[in-house]
């Protein structure tokens, strides 16, 4: 069927802030959808609160609303825009849930909006556990024995039948939030209670455990003519029991015969038809009993998902783009396959390589939480690797993670006592693959490892082949050959060549080989080059070479034929950011995408290198050429030598490419933009101090120490509290505020391994200073400020974890002028060419420089959206040689409206971890609120974070003594607005003296009820609790943790509380409106 002409305007809902289980894959899918539908001539209205997305760039939709993704806000947008259709399946669970809410409440009917892609009954059937089970039974498919519970009582009755271990799956939560495996009744009750609270409809599926069964996924697409195709099959290396987002996965399926695979395919087709997803993609999960082959259906997502993003990158088939086209009426056979250009999209991709996806976790930031991997997803990112063997792909994937491994390494696990291995193998954990390596290296049999891990012996055997080959490489006679070749005579060339070739085909990196032979990575590389053992590049083409590929999407392998034919055009290579992690995520990918788009428009051929399958940068049509490769020196150099670009951009992908900058430059790679040496000057404490002294700027008083003994007098001289951190860190890793000597010693002994090469930096902590972020762009002569962001919280909380406002809302003109002047001189001193971010602290009218990063910062997308100027695009063009004057960006912009950025935290995934905010970044994502009124902008940002500020009710106030004075005004305003106050004894007394009554609660341990009881009873609506910062007072932390667990907004600083109170005032006035970016930009 041709496309529908009865719709003109389509509303697309994004997925909001990056959170665990819902990351930039939905920007990838949403961006594809926007592009595909715009291309078809539809008018696109988009809503997404996440400013770091490509989809919210004003040119991807006609009307771009950066507003909270909640039903009431989306209703306002619908009322204003009157779209004829809503596409609910591309913005993850968030978009799907909001769409369901709008459909069920009659809003869609009222405004005559049609759900396209999936209709309400289909979504309900797939998402509601009882309906889904019923549907499966109807079509004769088995599901694990299970039942639905709406209360603890029902759940307790169910588990009598189902038995332990039992799986708890809350309905309508994403990434399995609140789910888990209970092995005993105590655990079970706890999980049931938590799960009921988290499910928006208070519904749980209690399921028979199929732990240890093999897990598979199929990505299915259906069109309006009922054609169904399977895009990709995925096998999880980790057996059932570990969330698929936390599993190492492989595409395609490796261990099913065709008979079994076709049975699964038939089931998938039956399922998508029975559920009734009209058009688009779905993800269906199966479990298979390894002993009998019995297949059961686990679940279905009636929308694009993380797995579909992976499947798209793994096959070259753009699921989201095709899904969008199907939603407006096209059939699969009417859409061409972009990659071959000649054949239709109605086929099943076949691949001739192996894809391995490996998750990346961030447990180091959430110490104290249980690190066991379960059915609830905990990873924050993933890397994907492509190879011609599983071994090659696995090792490439492991080095793509950038967690210090160069492949299936030995790691420090060598010293682990053998007796501890069984438990490390049987309890799923983030290092399990390395425990398997350790077990294999010590001779544990595949069968025994399989018994502990339930991992299919096929995968274990492949890992054993890696281990065996490594052993062979280190055998004395082999060593001798290689040593001789390397060191002396260049003899044994053929033998060395053969070994190196096989090592490469097994995925070994030069670094790993260097470690085996006690030589440097460079030595191995030179040796390889001499012997002609080079990486070759193959094409991802959807068809296993049956047709010629039009799209240059490549991966490396060691083979006989290289398919890359470099052009002689002027080209620029952009290094991406690798797997998402806390502190380095979508914001950097956004910058890389912008660089590609801008340079392409300037006539360059753009080459993208990245290993993150969730991103827009790894979409094959973002750049001219895409290399899906690890971001290591070796892999990047391979591509560089092949393509010989005239410039390489390292300052957009976060710390990952920056870390390679010096080595790449030494290898002759032309790094464009700010030089790696100047970047190093900003990072090295000593060199940076010289820069500041030169231009007369101040830093907080500081010192460095290499031991606890050295640290104590330095800290004492600076005066507590001090900020301590290791040198060279990302996202404030292991950075802390230390309040006394005892804590300092504890930090020096446990948190870091200080050494003369890696000293600990100790800074005076500027208490109650205002922190300011400045993003600027410089062409080497002219520096233009992009934006000045005033943090709401005082300095000391990582900038990624702070709320901030652009333009500043309390700074005076003189301060702003000074900040600008300082920034200009810093850019000049560091010879910045491209982007620069500076963090300042203002205390007692003095401006201190906290940090300078001469590279793209996390706030670039936010600032670009706030001022309507694509800073990353401009910076890329500046790096390629344009001046800001040529680019017509010479005037600084101060918008007439306010943009507020607010962070989103993953604490609900990590119970037991420290929820206190500090210099170490813990947020996974951010949202933006825009309004002409700063309080309304703040209210919108809070709402977009999922904290709906109350407009009435009870407020609990408990502040440290220093804040008692400041709280009076806030409390007074709250009572004026009709709130009732709750306070502990001390605070209550202060409030009473100032004429305010409050309901008294006991301090913890002094009697009942305490605030804990109120929180548990949901008898409090807002909490203002400023902690003393004293780690010896765990009660303060507990309040925060409980408030987070019960979704009660909590503010832990006075400025934060003040902003919240003003925002509540704005909400009470009830004049919240929605405005698209395009209209805001008219005001500039």
């Amino acid at each position: 069927m041709p496309k529908r002409t009865d719709i003109e305007k389509i509303l697309i809902i994004g997925s909001g802030a990056i959170i665990i289980g819902q990351a930039c894959e939905f920007d990838y899918s949403g961006t594809q959808a926007c592009k595909a539908l715009k291309e078809e001539g539809y008018e696109i209205t988009l809503v997404n609160s996440n400013p770091a997305t490509i989809m919210t760039d004003p040119d991807f939709a006609d009307r771009t609303y950066i507003e909270p993704i909640t039903a009431d806000t989306v209703e306002l947008i619908i009322a204003k825009e009157r779209p004829q259709a809503l596409l609910p399946t591309l913005g993850g669970q968030t978009a799907l849930n909001v769409s369901v809410e709008l459909a069920e409440s009659g809003v869609l009917e009222k405004y005559e909006v049609e759900l396209i892609g999936a209709k309400l009954p289909a979504i309900q059937k797939a998402e509601d556990r009882a309906l889904f089970k019923e549907a499966m039974t109807k079509i004769g498919l088995a599901v694990p024995h299970s039942g639905i519970a709406h209360s603890v009582q029902e759940a307790l009755a169910l588990v009598q039948e189902i038995g332990f271990p039992a799986i708890i799956r809350p309905a309508f939560t994403l990434g399995g939030t609140g789910g888990g495996i209970a092995y005993n009744i105590e655990e079970y009750e706890k999980m049931v209670t938590a799960g009921l609270a988290l499910s928006p409809i208070s519904e749980l599926l209690i399921e028979e455990s199929v732990i240890g069964w093999k897990e598979f996924e199929l990505e299915v697409m259906r069109d309006g003519a009922d054609n169904v195709v399977i895009i990709c099959s995925i096998e999880n290396v980790d057996a059932m029991g570990v969330h698929t987002g936390d599993s190492i996965t492989v595409a395609p399926i490796q261990t099913l015969t065709d008979k079994e695979y076709q049975l699964m395919r038939d089931s998938a087709i039956k399922i998508i038809r029975e559920i009734g997803v009209d058009t688009g993609g779905s993800n269906i999960q199966f479990a298979v009993d390894p002993k009998t082959g019995t297949q059961v259906v686990i679940e279905m997502n009636p929308r694009v998902s993380r797995s579909s993003a992976l499947a798209s990158k793994a096959t070259g088939f753009p699921i989201a783009k095709i899904a969008a086209k199907l939603a407006v009426g096209y059939n699969l056979d009417e859409i061409p396959n972009d990659i071959t250009a000649k054949t239709p999209a109605c086929f099943e991709p076949t691949i001739d390589y192996v894809v391995v996806k490996i998750p990346r976790w961030a447990f180091e930031k959430f110490q104290g939480t249980d690190e066991t991997l379960t059915t609830q997803m905990k990873s924050v990112g993933e890397a994907m690797a492509i190879g011609r063997t599983f071994k090659e792909a696995l090792q490439k994937g492991l080095r793509s993670l950038e967690t210090g491994w160069h492949g299936l390494d030995n790691h420090p696990l060598d010293e682990l006592p053998l007796s501890e291995l069984p438990s490390k193998l049987s309890v799923p954990n983030v290092k399990r693959v390395f425990y398997i390596k350790a077990a294999l290296a010590r001779g544990m049999s595949i069968e025994e490892i399989h018994t502990y891990t339930h991992i299919d012996p096929f995968f274990l055997y492949n890992m054993k082949e890696i281990v065996d080959f490594e052993n062979a490489l280190s055998k004395p006679d082999t060593r001798q050959y290689i040593d001789q070749y390397l060191q002396k005579s260049k003899t044994n060339g053929e033998l060395t060549k053969k070994l190196l070739r096989q090592a490469k085909q097994f995925g070994f990196s030069d670094r790993q080989l260097g470690d085996i032979y006690d030589v440097s990575e460079e030595t191995i590389r030179e040796c390889r080059k001499e012997l002609g053992v080079d990486a070759t590049f193959k094409t991802v083409d959807t068809c296993a070479a049956e047709f010629e590929a039009e799209t240059p999407y490549y991966y490396s392998t060691c083979s006989s034929e290289d398919e890359v034919r470099p052009s002689d055009k002027a080209k620029i290579m952009i290094l991406g950011g690798g797997p998402n992690r806390i502190g380095q995520g979508i914001e950097f990918d956004y910058c890389c995408v912008h660089a590609a788009l801008a340079l392409k428009a300037d006539g360059y051929e753009t080459i993208m290198v990245n290993s993150n399958p969730e991103t827009v940068s790894t979409d094959y049509d973002t750049s001219d050429r895409l290399y899906f490769e690890p971001l290591t020196c070796e892999d990047v150099l391979n591509i560089y030598h092949k393509e010989k670009p005239s410039g390489v951009i390292v300052q957009f992908g976060g710390q990952t490419p920056l870390n390679l900058a010096i080595t790449l430059k030494e290898a002759g790679v032309p790094i464009i933009g700010t030089s790696p040496e100047d970047i190093a000057r900003s990072e090295d404490r000593r060199l940076f101090k010289a820069v500041l002294d030169d231009i007369g700027l101040m830093q907080p008083p500081n010192g460095t120490a290499t031991s606890s003994e050295e640290a104590a007098p330095i800290a004492a001289a600076l005066g507590y509290p001090v900020i301590v951190r290791p040198s060279y860190v990302l996202g404030g890793r292991a950075m802390q505020i230390v309040y006394d000597e005892e804590l300092l010693h504890e930090y020096m002994h446990s948190a870091v391994q200080a050494s003369p090469e890696h000293p600990v930096l100790i800074d005076k902590y500027l208490e109650e200073a205002i922190e300011v972020d400045v993003d600027a762009i410089s062409d080497g002569n002219l520096t233009v400020i992009g934006g000045i962001m005033e943090h709401i919280e005082e300095a000391g909380i990582h900038s990624g974890d702070s709320d901030c406002v652009l333009p500043p809302y309390t700074l005076v003109d003189e301060q702003i002028e000074n900040l600008k002047t300082f920034t200009y001189s810093l850019a000049k001193a560091l010879r910045v060419r491209g982007l620069m971010n500076v963090q300042y602290a203002i205390k007692n009218d003095e401006i201190y420089v906290l940090e300078v990063n001469p590279r793209a910062s996390r706030t670039i997308p936010f600032v670009s959206k706030a001022i309507g100027v694509p800073l990353a695009k401009l910076a890329a063009r500046v790096m390629a040689g344009k001046t800001l004057a040529e680019l017509e960006f010479t005037n600084e912009i101060e918008p007439a409206y306010f943009s507020v950025k607010a962070p989103v935290f993953p604490f609900n995934r990590f119970p037991g971890s420290n929820t206190r905010l500090g210099p170490e970044m813990k947020s996974t994502g951010e949202v933006m609120g825009i309004d002409t009124d700063v309080s309304r902008a703040f209210a919108k940002a809070q709402k977009a974070c999922g904290y709906t500020l109350p407009i009435g009710g009870k407020v609990f106030i408990s502040v440290k003594n220093k804040d008692k004075r400041a709280i009076i005004f806030i409390a007074k305003k709250l009572t004026d607005m009709g709130f009732e106050l709750i306070a502990t004894h001390g605070t209550a007394k202060v409030l009473l003296r100032n004429g305010m009554e409050s309901e008294l609660v006991f301090s913890i341990g002094k009697g009942r009820p305490t605030i804990h009881d109120y929180i548990k009873n949901h008898a409090v609506d807002l909490i203002i609790n400023t902690p003393t910062g004293d780690l010896h007072r765990p009660n303060e932390l507990l309040i925060r943790e409980m408030a987070i667990a019960h979704d009660i907004p909590i503010f832990s600083t006075i400025p934060g509380a003040a902003a919240a109170v003003n925002a509540i005032d704005a909400l009470q006035r009830g004049d919240i409106t929605v405005t698209p970016l395009q209209d805001y930009f008219q005001m500039l």
Binding site: L256, D258, K259, Q262, I351, D352, K538, E561
Partner: protein, 361 residues
């Protein structure tokens, strides 16, 4: 042990042997299915061919007794990127290595199968020689060149059954079979027989040279024309047989059976550059406008423009617009180029078996 695959164009690929040792010649073709290597190996349509799997890891799930399409492996040689020495599957009985060794099929692994596939795609399928004995590439190229190739060679004679037999299926209950079918065996795949049985047919399999008179004497409800290897042109006796059967019995042809029917009706066949071999070929059913994902294995094709007016085109390949199915305008006769019995491959087109039984009603 070292093994070399040499192509008639002079290209050589050096790899490691698995399965049997020795030397073999054949037409080198590629198959793009990611699963189903045992079905591929045992499909008689691959007679005369050295098959390369484009999926790089082969042998992962071993081999078993059930997933066979004929009495044993039929290919002349087997080429993979990485043979998996470990086989993991609850039904696995032998390693692929042992299976091939047992049936005297030479395997070669460790070569750049994608480079080989690209060569075949660009230059067309070509003759090759695979050896573990003669490791001189030039000599192997000469042997490959010297081989006569598939065109004009009646390969059916190498795979058809020696004498007529009744298909017995242990798990099937044949007592309520409604239709009596004679299947002309040009190299029939077991799954066709299994499918016919499941659709209520009692099947008598007869040698390819069985005459129309002999078939009609058995008074079947319908005649099935099977798949098979190689060029249809030299199988003139079968073309003659089919021509006589037209109008007398319902006919259903698959693959070679379809080509022979096409020739019998007056059409022409030609050799495709590199054929269709895989499990992901999109075929459009023109009657319903629905697309079927199909299993295919053919190097020859009925020329869509050569068809007589007596037939309608029912199915076309969406990748290259070649003919995939025809139906006679007057008589209950139809055929498809692809494999509705799948094995390996998707089951999207299994409705065709019902269509055949409906014709026999």
């Amino acid at each position: 042990m070292k093994a070399i695959l040499a192509l008639a164009d002079g290209t050589g690929f050096e790899g490691e042997q698995f399965g049997a040792t020795g030397e073999t010649v054949g037409e080198v073709v590629f198959n793009t299915s990611m699963t189903g290597y045992q079905e591929v190996l045992t499909d008689p349509s691959y007679k005369g061919q050295i098959v390369t799997m484009t999926y790089p890891l082969i042998g992962n799930y071993g081999c078993n007794e059930a997933d066979v399409e004929s009495i044993g492996p039929q290919v002349e040689g087997f080429v993979v990127r990485e043979y998996s020495a470990y086989h993991s599957n609850w039904r696995s009985k032998w390693s692929l290595d042992a299976y091939l060794a047992e049936h005297d099929i030479i395997g070669i692994q460790g070569i750049d199968t994608r480079a080989l596939t690209r060569r075949l795609r660009v230059h067309g399928v070509m003759n090759g020689c695979l050896s573990t004995e003669d490791l001189n590439p030039e000599s192997l190229v000469t042997k490959a060149k010297a081989w006569h190739g598939l065109v004009g060679w009646d390969l059916v004679q190498r795979v058809t059954c020696p004498s007529s037999y009744a298909w017995q299926q242990p798990e099937a209950n044949n007592s309520h079979a409604k239709y009596r079918v004679v299947a002309l065996d040009f190299g029939i795949k077991y799954n066709i027989l299994r499918q016919l049985t499941e659709h209520g047919c009692e099947v008598q399999v007869v040698p390819a040279k069985t005459t129309a008179e002999e078939i009609l004497a058995a008074e079947p409800d319908g005649v099935f024309l099977s798949n098979g290897p190689g060029d249809p042109m030299p199988v003139d006796y079968a073309i003659q047989t089919i021509r006589t059967l037209i109008g007398k019995k319902p006919l259903f042809g698959i693959c070679l059976g379809h080509q022979l029917l096409g020739l019998a009706l007056g059409g022409k066949t030609f050799k495709l550059k590199f054929g269709h071999r895989g499990a992901n070929q999109p075929v459009k059913h023109l009657e319903t406008d629905r697309v079927e994902i199909t299993a295919q294995n053919h190097g020859f094709c009925v020329d869509i423009d050569s068809l007589p007016n007596s037939v309608d085109v029912t199915h076309v390949n969406l990748n290259d617009d070649t003919l995939e199915g025809i139906q006679h305008r007057e008589h209950p006769i139809f055929s498809v180029q692809y494999h509705p019995e799948a094995s390996p491959g998707p089951h999207d087109a299994s409705y065709l078996f019902s269509r055949f039984t409906e014709m026999m009603e």
